[in-house]
């Protein structure tokens, strides 16, 4: 259990998971097409309006981590677990971590690709270029990693693929609530800010748009964006730690009876 994971095995298997993602119309729809849809929100509001732009990009990133990453992975895991595909693969050379990474990879690649495609799209519609593109991408990857762990944990107590429609709701709420910090009463806001959705929102708003809190005017410069990222990054890491721990202790490889 100590040797490094085999990258060729992960990529080799991930490739076929990607093929499978495109074979089924439904998974193709929420795995690939749906995450691109929120970019349409960039057409709303005044051309180049920073607040509207930030809202559209935050929404785009959240759909990208919720559908191709979280929901797709959850339903793939449950379906393949129930069809004994996972059990079969686990008899071979591939290690569990590699198997999980290979399942998560296509969705994460889609999420990152959507986040990247959003840049030229936003530029064409009069938005400014990301202030700190590295931090922006790191934020998308970190958020994806968290939702990967959430997916494996949710799968552990999801009875079958249909049940995933219900069992995915708590995590989806956790992601969505954080984007609406402003609508909560002030006393609740500091708690809502500790949700993964709020952390992701803060990171995207500061790294791309230089926005602080719920402001709509650029107040941060490049150096400030790194400093502003500290707290939400810690929130994401803490959630990831929790989700990985929960997933690891409840991992269920065979159909639930």
């Amino acid at each position: 259990m100590n040797a490094a994971i085999s990258l060729p095995r992960v990529i080799g298997l991930a490739r076929w998971n990607a093929v499978l993602l495109t074979r089924n119309t439904l998974t193709m729809l929420y795995g690939v097409v749906m995450p691109l849809a929120p970019l349409a929100f960039l057409f709303t509001g005044d051309r180049g309006d920073r607040g509207a732009g930030a809202a559209a990009i935050v929404f785009t990133v959240s759909v990208a981590v919720l559908f191709p990453v979280y929901y797709n992975l959850l339903s793939q895991f449950v379906t393949r677990r129930d069809e004994l595909v996972l059990k079969r693969l686990r008899t071979g050379e591939i290690r569990d971590v590699e198997l999980l990474a290979a399942m998560a990879l296509p969705g994460v690649v889609v999420a990152v690709a959507v986040a990247v495609v959003a840049v030229p799209f936003a530029l064409a519609l009069g938005q400014s270029a990301p202030l700190n593109p590295v931090l922006y991408l790191v934020s998308v990857v970190a958020t994806s990693a968290l939702f990967v762990a959430f997916a494996f944990w949710t799968a552990a107590w999801t009875r079958n693929a249909e049940a995933a429609q219900m069992t995915s709701l708590p995590v989806i709420m956790l992601a969505v609530a954080g984007q609406m910090v402003a609508v909560f009463p002030e006393s609740a806001q500091r708690w809502v800010e500790l949700t993964p959705g709020a952390a992701m929102t803060g990171l995207v708003r500061s790294s791309w748009f230089g926005l602080e809190g719920s402001g709509t005017e650029r107040t941060l410069d490049l150096a400030d964006t790194w400093a502003a990222a500290g707290r939400p990054m810690l929130v994401l890491l803490a959630w990831t730690g929790l989700a990985v721990w929960l997933a690891a202790r409840s991992m269920q490889w065979e159909p639930r009876t």
Partner: protein
């Protein structure tokens, strides 16, 4: 990797339990088993005897509650990577994504194997070449099983573990699998398989291990297992045969209108029986004489009651 002195698979004192407390159930209760390199060994038993539970520990998919397992001298859990590189596993039930074709599935499996056969070679080996472009979803049960076997054998394994390889196959596919398994042994591969088919065990195995209620109760070649077991003579029970006790029988049982004589000397006792019957003008309806066979031994074992804590449903 292995010599003839060290068995390819060595199991000793293996125990495995499911559940805890009042619901605990011990499926494997102290199994000792050596599989010599380059041979075929069959674990034979009724459903619920503990065959799959034993095999899963050897495969490294489950942990034992006691005992040790060595595959090619290595621990299947601690030395997982090394063991997996040299073993091929066929599960009793398993699945593949229905949306990939046969050829794609083999290529996918290939991506996980260190030194794999080509997908085309695997197709040819399992006579799947003309089904290469068919989605797995559209395969028959027998074809899916052959695809499964192709994956098992893709990495040129030294040790092959097959859990009920032919259950659910049509007779022709079964013969195919038998031919394949014999071919593996002839190339020096060690095979451990489970089955509840007696003919399969007799046709394939160099050595049999009969399991019952979590233990191995008989081991040896089919002939060795049958030896020492009584032959039987049976006929429709007649109201009065005062000379019956004079026969050199181990035991005489009357059950549901059939009298069964168990004996170690089939020819002698049968001759005696027929002479006495002729002398007394008795007609023996439904007369049958059988040498002890694997079947009779197996059925005798399977008829033994399991302890009252056991339930069939707790096991696969």
């Amino acid at each position: 990797m292995s010599t003839h002195e060290t068995p390819a698979i060595g199991v000793s004192g293996l125990r495995r339990s499911y559940g805890t407390g009042a619901h605990a159930f011990e499926a494997v209760r102290g199994v000792d088993l050596d599989v010599p390199a380059g041979t075929i060994t069959a674990l034979l038993g009724t459903n619920g005897a503990g065959k799959t539970s034993t095999l899963e520990v050897i495969e490294g998919l489950a942990t034992a509650s006691a005992g040790t397992v060595r595959v090619l001298g290595l621990d299947p859990v601690a030395d997982r990577d090394e063991v997996r590189r040299h073993t091929g596993v066929l599960l009793q039930r398993s699945g593949f994504s229905g949306d990939l074709t046969v050829h794609e599935t083999l290529r996918m499996w290939r991506a996980t194997v260190t030194s794999p056969r080509s997908a085309d070679e695997s197709l040819a080996m399992l006579r799947l070449t003309d089904r290469a472009d068919v989605p797995v979803r559209a395969l028959s049960g027998g074809e899916q099983r052959r695809l499964d076997l192709a994956c098992t054998l893709m990495g040129h394994p030294d040790v092959v573990l097959l859990d009920e390889p032919t259950t659910g196959l049509d007779p022709e596919s079964r013969r195919d699998v038998w031919r394949l398994v014999r071919g593996l042994r002839d190339e020096g591969t060690t095979v451990l398989l489970t089955t509840h088919y007696l003919d399969e065990a007799e046709a394939l195995a160099d050595r049999l291990e009969i399991m019952h209620a979590g233990r191995i109760v008989r081991s040896g070649t089919p002939a060795e297992i049958a030896a020492g077991h009584p032959s039987t003579i049976s006929f429709a029970t007649l109201p009065e045969l005062p000379w019956l006790p004079h026969l050199d029988a181990r035991r005489v049982v009357e059950e549901r209108g059939v009298t069964t004589i168990e004996t170690d000397d089939l020819q002698g006792v049968l001759t005696d029986l027929l002479i006495r019957a002729a002398r007394h003008g008795v007609r023996l309806e439904g007369l049958e004489a059988r040498t002890a066979s694997l079947e009779s031994v197996f059925l005798a074992i399977a008829d033994q009651p399991q302890s009252r804590h056991e339930t069939e449903g707790a096991l696969r």
